[in-house]
Symmetry: D3
């Protein structure tokens, strides 16, 4: 079971220049083969399917807790996309003025036709995420190796999306994900090391470029030490993650820390209405609003 | 962001007769077009994408909170499948004895070849769940109508899977889901009613059969009144769900109640090792276990 | 535009032994790559997309008219499947008796979970028909060559499904389709011959076995000469099909004939209710029936 | 069985500014999840699969007749796309001049590489239509609810495509489809009302914008009352649609009318050849044309 | 079993104007339904699956040997794409300069995000090649008819890609493939003729345009007679291809020749590093290079 | 470019008990996500796409040469499937006797309907292989890590298929593939070690079971030392594979050897005709055979 807290793990600035093709590129990090839907669902299924967990409790705890963090990552990417799409068409409610005309040449038409200028579980090419991306073999060493590879592949995608999109909203999101994804890479390397004795962390960084080259990521690492921290995403469980997450960080040698509980985070950004999509808007008929309010609260004004 | 609590919302008994084709049928409720992956992801994306939410807060709260409950439903179905698959092959670690022979005729070969006799995001035919199943139009009335329809379609599938599989594990899971899915049907009916004034609940039940005809569901409804309760799946948010979830239940006229917080639930079942799949097992080399334990806990015995 | 006439082109007997795996095999002829959905949609799109049709009117007429016949073929296959599925589970409306238990081992679970024991646009493996099966290159010679090949591939499938399923319902349907598909093979061979002068018909039969080896097909050919007749599936158009459909049949040398108008056909079979699926049934609450009747006809008894 | 009449239900003007990305947007209405292929195939399969139809004849008639109308809708959308693609490249037959160069940046390359600058069963993103879009549960109330939702989702797409594309060809087509799709929404609302007594029509319009805001649609509704008319798409069957289609239109209160027979329609537009695609063209070798004509008509000049 | 020789069958010039959308168009010839992956895999599977081959040895030899040639075709198309993508972004290793910015509007984002500015098994729309494109019916006549059609469809695609892309790299590749694909068309026509006596070659050319209209293809045909030559792609087998490949070429009447062995070919082009993708580059840390060299060759300088 | 040699790398015995569901299980090793189609196509594309290869020649040579070996693996699996399917239906050419009746319950209907009782590029569930399975990031370290993981995943599947199917044909094929796949695992481990200095081989075996537990594999390793040998699959290229493939085998410490050239192999098994599929058979009309022979060889008897 989960509980939701209505905040994002990172604060996202408003875009300087909202742009549907920027949003399309960022979709790769949501619904791509190596996107956050994949990390979320891989670890979630591996945690449900973990056999003989009594003997291997720290590994179970690690996978299950990281799975929970991935939820905050699909959320972050989703909001970044939504912000990048807000205001990319002409607002208003007269269809005869062709308010969605700019959408005609957008790389992902679904953003305008199938969603309300908002995210969907698709990749940068508009292809839908699929359960084929989930790997859950039941062999712990193989699952950990998979997860280590998956996170490295995901890192390559983050790097490349960062290099494609310069808008500060995207960069804030991707910079944050580079740091947190980096934590997961190290976590699976540590888990493999505990299981086998092989210092897999010496392979890093994969690809061959440090997070420190990305200004937004560097800031989070150097100022907040966020690359050293593994959160425990449960008020009641996953107490043994510290049996794996300990010792030195393989890239800068700093000491790894477990944080009891989730990050404080920031409020989710408000998403403006887009009335041309007949999504909720500021021009709703006042009488209708009053009627709805009355049905909701027994009075025409919301409390 | 989410927090995980390592319990299931319902207690699942051990199967009387574990069987891969029973597990295959139950997969429809996990990775099918109308399965729990679909309800989870539809409401999750709708909550991320909700525009202009200030004016429509109770609707946002309702969708977002139900999204969180769906997580516990994929968990429940997943464990039911895992239990139904446990012990369906010959345990041991000598491949030359053809320990997986019974798998040859199973309807979903992936349970044995791609997973560790465990669940995958596939439907009853072994086809993978896909993001195409997510609907998030950005028009509130249309999204609510979709959700109402989706839950009715999901209910039809639950009914039919119940009629296919008699094992008590499956029936406990499906009975529980019928009740909770029924709550979601009513919740979306109420939301449509608040938005439009139309008493959509009078269309129920869809399909035309009452939950009371399913012994496990009837018990939960009659003894615990579980069909009247909407949980608030957040320690901090979603306070306005009660503006929609109120009044009389459309089928039996009982009063609807909001429960602050999630259900107490039950421990997740322990899943036995299946050594023939080289999944963790009881015969692990003692020296290796000692080495792992030492790396984990600094001593050869876990604390 | 089309008009529907509520009859099938061939009379289908009731199955001797309804069986879900027989129905699964027949699905290949509906939703398979070479199934009737494919022939229908290929010719339909080719007719919509036909450029410069004034100069090539007989070719347009031929493709467009055959497209219309294919509708009656998806109808025929669909009804054959529906008959083969009728009564394959235990009828009744008590879910606790596991009335769908026999469905657990059926090759296509969708027949029971996603449809009302009825046809779906899937192939024999339960994979969905897709628009990728449509070829419409805009080059007439290439489109005709495709259609000739498609019909030969479809014939191979019909032969093999016939060899798989002995039930008289399936055999009546497949025998009929072998004859009519055979007409389409010859029609596209004739069209290629008119366009190029090459006697493509001499390649026949493909595969290397005559329709006369299939008792149901032989009867239709020898007693009714149905392999010689091309129907004109329009009361107003496609007058020039006879400019292509003429001369001798390449296999038995009989003279080809155009029939003005569609076949007389037979009534569509009545499909029994399956109450365990909550599909319409004989036990509907009488008061509800009366209410519905009143809303329909202004009186409690239908006229 | 069907008969084809070689006319469109609406007259389509020539485009002012043919454009491949306009055509791409319109494809959503053909091969999208909520496109006309989906409405056609949903109702067609539901009509084939309708069990126990004797007791529910008006519902069967309604679904089966609307299914037939949908054929004219795929036809309309297809021709609109074909017109929007005509002349978008350089005509001629010398490949060395790169006549298809403008196609390189088109959103749907298939229009030029896989088809003859013509429609395909794909959506606006170039993804193929799939049978997964067909819902046929066998439960009448659930199928009607699905159809009501499907038509509302389709309406959202029509609105958004209208807002994206200003070319008069597209607008004539979409305006017409808004009106006729609106009729189907009301028809399924009425059917649900007859079945359950709930006035579902009061939910309309979904999305929250009237057809009257779309000039082409408004004209058809106000001048021709086309939103009040349900056609009977059969010369012989579907006599009972009037038992459902009756009473007042839920949006403007006008009286609903059944029209015996199909609309008169307009001739299908002539599609110009595109010789650079080696599709039929005006420069065919005269001797070859004479040979073909001779094989067709026994003379070198077509009659 | 195969042996690889590290040369291409044709020399590819460097692009004049590298361009991601040119590369996207050329992908159709690699991963499209009628691309070289399809010809390679169709003939490869047909050769593995060939039953009763003793009696039909020349047909087996023909299919198996052409299958081997297709490998050199996927190689050729792949290198053409790689060259067209080289240098299309800003080279360097500082991500903060947005070096991949030009990728944002490219039609196939995967070229930049999922590959190292290089080819993938996708078509021009970014959809992945699938095994559904393989046809292997086991009926020789039907398989040959399929192959004949497949090669004609592939030729239509080659023609259209040629007409879309004027860059000399693409034209050299496509011109070569037109000639060699033309050989395969004739080969399957001859095979059908041997099997049935029907002179299928008289249908050519399909589509209705000669290779001589394409300057690069004309040169290869007129100067090297490459359209007359069937290579024997084995040092040890396929000796009987000459029993089918003999007589006159159907288009220009020249004599067909078997060439013992494969073409001489040309070296594969060198692909420059793209350091912004962290693919191997010229700025690798010298110490790291020395370490690698030492591990490779026991010395810091490669031999 | 490649040359084909018409032999298999391993001798396959005839099945003791041909069985379609055994064949279905083995399909996982051909068309599964981790099947031989995937290893073949991953390394093939990586070799085409390798940038800056001059500096990294031994890595290029290794990947390119292993790619060539994978061809012999799809061949081996394909023949194993074909043998397991031979004779599983009733032979003969009278369709009315339902010769394919046993196919009705087979897990993969395509083996009988779409192919001539022969292999297809599908997995054990009948889902088609797709290009989505190809990973080619252009970052060498990441590609090698992927390949190492892919081979470990492939090994897990081989182990499980071995445990599912006891027929000697399958076991001979799978035993051989375990050994050769084991070589590839070590090769990619060595390549990672050379690139990074990390002894990745110490992670092995993954999954945690030795090849020595599989009798057929043990024999090849102990009697022939086949696990120590890397073949050079080219008469002219890939000379530098020995710079990586050297030193000790990580599991048994034996010395690694490069073999110049490919294995000797064994003749491909003869596949019997299946006349009921109208695949080539022994009962071909003698006159037709004579005609074909005459067209082939200028005489009625093949030489």
């Amino acid at each position: 079971m989960i509980q939701r807290i209505d905040r994002l793990p990172v604060e996202l600035p408003r875009p300087k220049n909202p742009n549907p093709n920027d949003a399309a590129a960022v979709q790769e990090l949501l619904g791509g083969k190596f996107g956050e839907m994949s990390t979320l669902m891989n670890y979630t299924f591996q945690s449900f399917n973990f056999r003989g967990r009594a003997k291997m409790k720290p590994f179970y705890d690690l996978i299950a807790s990281i799975a929970a963090e991935e939820y905050s990552h699909i959320e972050t990417v989703s909001y970044a996309i939504n912000l990048l799409l807000t205001g990319t068409t002409v607002r208003g409610d007269d269809p005869a003025t062709t308010p969605l005309e700019p959408a005609k040449d957008a790389r992902i038409s679904y953003h305008f036709l199938a969603s309300g200028q908002a995210s969907l579980p698709v990749d940068s090419q508009g292809n839908f995420w699929t359960g084929q991306n989930v790997f859950s073999s039941g062999n712990l060493k193989l699952d950990l190796l998979h997860n280590f590879f998956l996170e490295c592949g995901a890192r390559a995608n983050k790097i490349r999306v960062y290099e494609t999109v310069s808008d500060p909203t995207a960069r804030a999101a991707v910079g944050y994900l580079l740091v947190r994804g980096g934590v997961h890479i190290v976590a699976y390397a540590k888990a493999l090391e505990v299981l086998t004795g092989v210092d897999v962390g010496k392979l890093l960084p994969i690809p061959d470029i440090s997070n420190k080259k990305f200004p937004e990521a560097r800031k989070l690492e150097e100022e907040q030490g966020l690359h050293r921290v593994l959160f425990r995403w449960s008020p009641t469980d996953f107490e043994q993650i510290g049996a794996i997450w300990k010792g030195a960080h393989p890239e800068d040698g700093t000491e790894l820390l477990v944080s009891e509980g989730m990050p404080e985070g920031a409020p989710a950004p408000d998403l403006d209405p887009e009335p041309q999509l007949t999504s909720p808007d500021g021009d709703i008929d006042p009488q209708m609003m009053a009627d709805i309010a009355k049905r909701l609260f027994g009075t025409a004004t919301p409390t």
